[in-house]
């Protein structure tokens, strides 16, 4: 392998890791909700679309950037509590499949509402972050991707601190461990779920802004959940650290596979390669690399 080839491998690897961080951003939203309520929230992608579309539509109507951000966050808070009140609360104690189907339906409702309110036009989203690459030792690195990685790292650190060092975080963990026990000691489940959905809404907002700046704000933004699912399977549905590590593994491996295996099988393999990898992990470790192992008495 020549020095140039070696550099190219590193470049693909770095590019893949940075892409993986973007997948993790979406996966974290899933983890938050799954961790505290056991619900695989299929509507997370729609929430990303809704947040980004709301934000960009406000900015385009002349509302300042910061105020638009604040209003969008308020909208996501309202959405989180509305979902808790109208969907989750009536379905409490239902099977996980029922809740999953409810979020599937919710996903379509949010997508439809987003288009009904803000229209179907494609929007550009400029966050003011320069996306011209810079060179480090012969490797081109995207400044935008680096910043996205930094934001994701900050979010993980913040969420981890929140979970471990705040009273509400402690309550979240208690609910995640045992909902009935949490109720028995006086924790208010609806409020906690509402707060968790708000946090997921915040993650959706951040992911929506970064992905929206990359893809444009358009309907297909909601399809980024397809990138998050193998990350979750690989990292574990209830681990924030798993979402990050899973994202990095998926991002790096799918890019390397596309470049080095793709030409032998006709190319375009990264769409399914991540799922194949996740399937292998599922067979070996059903709860993912960092997921909590469930032990049940039979």
């Amino acid at each position: 392998m020549s020095y140039y080839d070696f550099l190219f491998v590193i470049e693909v690897l770095v590019g893949g890791l940075l892409s993986g961080v973007m997948y993790s951003l979406v996966a974290i939203g899933f983890v938050l909700i799954y961790k505290t309520s056991g619900v695989l929230n299929f509507a997370q992608g729609s929430m990303v679309l809704f947040a980004a579309l709301t934000f960009v539509s406000l900015v385009e109507r002349g509302i300042p950037f910061a105020l638009s951000l604040l209003i969008t966050f308020a909208v996501m808070v309202a959405l989180g509590f509305t979902i808790e009140r109208t969907v989750l609360r009536p379905l409490v104690n239902r099977s996980p499949m029922t809740l999953f189907m409810a979020t599937l339906g919710l996903s379509y409702i949010i997508e439809g509402a987003a288009q009904l309110i803000w229209g179907t036009q494609v929007h550009g989203l400029d966050l003011g972050i320069d996306d011209t690459p810079f060179e480090v030792g012969g490797i081109l690195i995207s400044s935008f991707d680096l910043l996205a990685a930094a934001i994701a790292a900050a979010m993980v650190a913040g969420l981890s601190a929140f979970f471990y060092w705040t009273r509400i975080g402690l309550a979240f963990r208690a609910v995640a461990d045992d909902q009935f026990a949490a109720l028995a000691v006086g924790l208010r489940l609806p409020r906690i779920w509402g707060t968790v959905w708000t946090a997921a809404g915040f993650v959706a907002l951040v992911a929506g802004l970064l992905w929206g700046a990359r893809l444009g704000v358009r309907f297909s933004l909601s399809l980024i959940v397809l990138k998050a699912l193998p990350v979750l399977v690989l990292g574990g549905f209830d681990s924030i650290l798993g979402a990050i590590v899973g994202g990095l593994i998926i991002g790096a491996s799918e890019k390397l596979a596309e470049v080095y295996l793709g030409p032998f099988v006709g190319g375009g393999i990264e769409g399914w390669f991540a799922y194949a990898l996740a399937l292998v992990v599922l067979l070996v470790r059903p709860s993912g690399l960092f997921g909590q192992k469930t032990v049940e008495r039979v």
């Binding site: 190219f8 470049e11 693909v12 590019g15 893949g16 940075l18 892409s19 439809g112 288009q115 229209g119 179907t120 036009q121 494609v122 929007h123 550009g124 989203l125 400029d126 996306d131 011209t132 690459p133 081109l140 995207s142 935008f144 991707d145 992905w211 990359r214 893809l215 444009g216 704000v217 358009r218 309907f219 297909s220 399809l223 980024i224 990138k227 799918e254 890019k255 596309e258 470049v259 793709g262 006709g266 190319g267 375009g268 393999i269 990264e270 769409g271 399914w272």
Partner: protein, 443 residues
């Protein structure tokens, strides 16, 4: 009280509509399988908006086509094949159907057998199966103006013109980045053929649907140092390609987009990364063409404009819809000249399409000079030898940067015939003759 008030209004409205129908007994109907929501709504609202705007112009300005009012209704498909077929089944019993215009490769494929049985034209302007160009095998399908092979030839001819001639292509390196779908793969063999013919090096790289991640593909492109990248994209794949090209240091002015990578929706989300990007088109964008100005004045002035956002008037998809409207209406007009100024059958309109010859003078008379070049459809050539031009994005708008360019139709025709004849053999279809084409079902 309110309910009865509404009921009375509804009854009056119904009587009015029935009355209006009685007055305009001759009516030509366009069933529209539109998509105004879903992932491709931006294209759908523009195209169907332009099409309806033109039909409205003909009704308001001319009272229809020689007295036959143009009518239409829409069914939402969200660009999904099963919904497109469902809308087809729902609308096909309406009387006086002129032609179907789904603007969807998938829906068009699913309709070929159905419309052939029903003897109604299916228009796939700028897209669809390339071999449907051969009217000997596909009597009712019309990939008007540009089929995918002609598009490929047009792009290669444009690159050649930039390099100083077809002979200068030898030794050049061209990468085709295509959407991982039947649409994206349609042109793989023709690029290979042209590569062999002109001696340029060729790599064809697939981007999996939907195309929101292209880091690996563009790093591969960077390693190959191509002279040009042809972008055969769709939807979100296009802005992501332009942004990732910028990230990997490939210049936008050496990326040439295909006909489904040439709209404002493809470049605006890419921001500055799209500046200098060039794309093929069969119709220019902008409002300066007389027919577009007339639509603004007459249709939008009358409050009947179809686009909610008036800033989209003259956009790529809107103008494509207008050109599609011109071609449909002129086919009806040509058919009326032969069969009479009345509601025509689908087969009569098919005959009209097969005699759709609009030379530059006629295009100018229709107010579309420079909007599109010309068309020359015949019973066996359903594409009609459309010319192409190239437009470059300056960050705010498209600017035309080439003359009208002719694809290499002579080179392509034998390949098309080979494919269509294989299809005919597989399906047991009898190859049509000119006499067959002149036999028209009039009731």
């Amino acid at each position: 009280m309110t309910f009865f008030s509404h009921l009375r209004k509804a009854a009056i409205a119904t009587a009015f509509v029935l009355g209006a129908t009685a007055v305009h007994a001759e009516e030509q109907y366009f069933p529209l399988q539109s998509y105004r929501v879903g992932p491709y709504a931006a294209g759908g609202t523009g195209f169907f908006g332009g099409f309806i705007d033109y039909l409205n112009l003909i009704n308001i300005r001319d009272g229809g086509v020689n007295g036959a009012k143009l009518a239409w209704s829409e069914g939402e498909t969200q660009y999904e094949v099963e919904k497109g077929v469902e809308v087809y089944e729902r609308l096909k019993s309406n009387p006086g159907i002129a032609a179907w215009n789904p603007l969807s490769v998938g829906i068009a494929y699913a309709m070929i057998d159905r419309i052939t049985d029903d003897k109604v034209p299916l228009i796939t302007i700028n897209h669809g199966r390339t071999d449907t160009t051969d009217g000997r095998v596909f009597p009712y399908v019309f990939p008007l103006l540009l089929n995918p092979y002609s598009e490929t030839s047009g792009i290669v001819n444009y690159i050649a013109s930039k390099e100083g001639g077809l002979d200068k292509l030898k030794g050049k390196n061209i990468v085709v980045l295509y959407h991982g779908s039947p649409y994206g793969k349609e042109t793989i063999p023709i690029y290979e053929l042209l590569s062999q013919k002109y001696g340029f090096e060729l790599s064809q790289i697939e981007v999996p649907h939907p195309g929101n991640e292209q880091q690996a593909q563009w790093l591969t492109i960077r390693r190959e140092h191509p002279d040009y990248v042809v972008l055969r994209g769709w939807g979100v794949m296009n802005p992501v390609a332009l942004k990732t090209a910028q990230k990997t240091g490939f210049p936008a002015d050496h990326i040439i987009g295909n006909v489904w990578s040439n709209s404002e929706e493809d470049v605006i989300p890419a921001g500055d990364a799209a500046k200098g990007y060039t794309a093929i088109t069969t119709q220019a964008s902008g409002e300066r063409y007389p027919v577009v100005q007339e639509i603004v004045k007459t249709v939008y002035g009358d409050g009947k404009g179809n686009l909610e956002d008036k800033s989209r008037i003259g956009s790529v998809y809107h103008n494509l819809g207008i050109v599609n409207g011109i071609l449909n209406v002129e086919a009806v007009r040509i058919a009326q000249a032969k069969f009479g100024n009345r509601t025509l059958t689908g087969d009569e309109v098919r005959w009209g399409f097969e005699h759709l010859k609009l030379d530059p003078a006629r295009v100018e008379a229709l107010g579309a000079k420079d909007l599109f070049h010309s068309i020359n459809v015949s019973w066996d050539n359903h594409e009609g030898d459309g010319y192409v031009t190239f437009q470059q994005w300056d960050g705010k708008k498209w600017n035309v940067v080439s003359d009208w360019i002719a694809p290499d139709w002579k080179l392509l025709r034998p390949i098309i015939e080979k494919s269509s004849e294989a299809y005919a053999k597989e399906k047991g279809i009898k190859i049509r003759t000119a006499e067959d084409a002149d036999a028209v079902v009039s009731n």
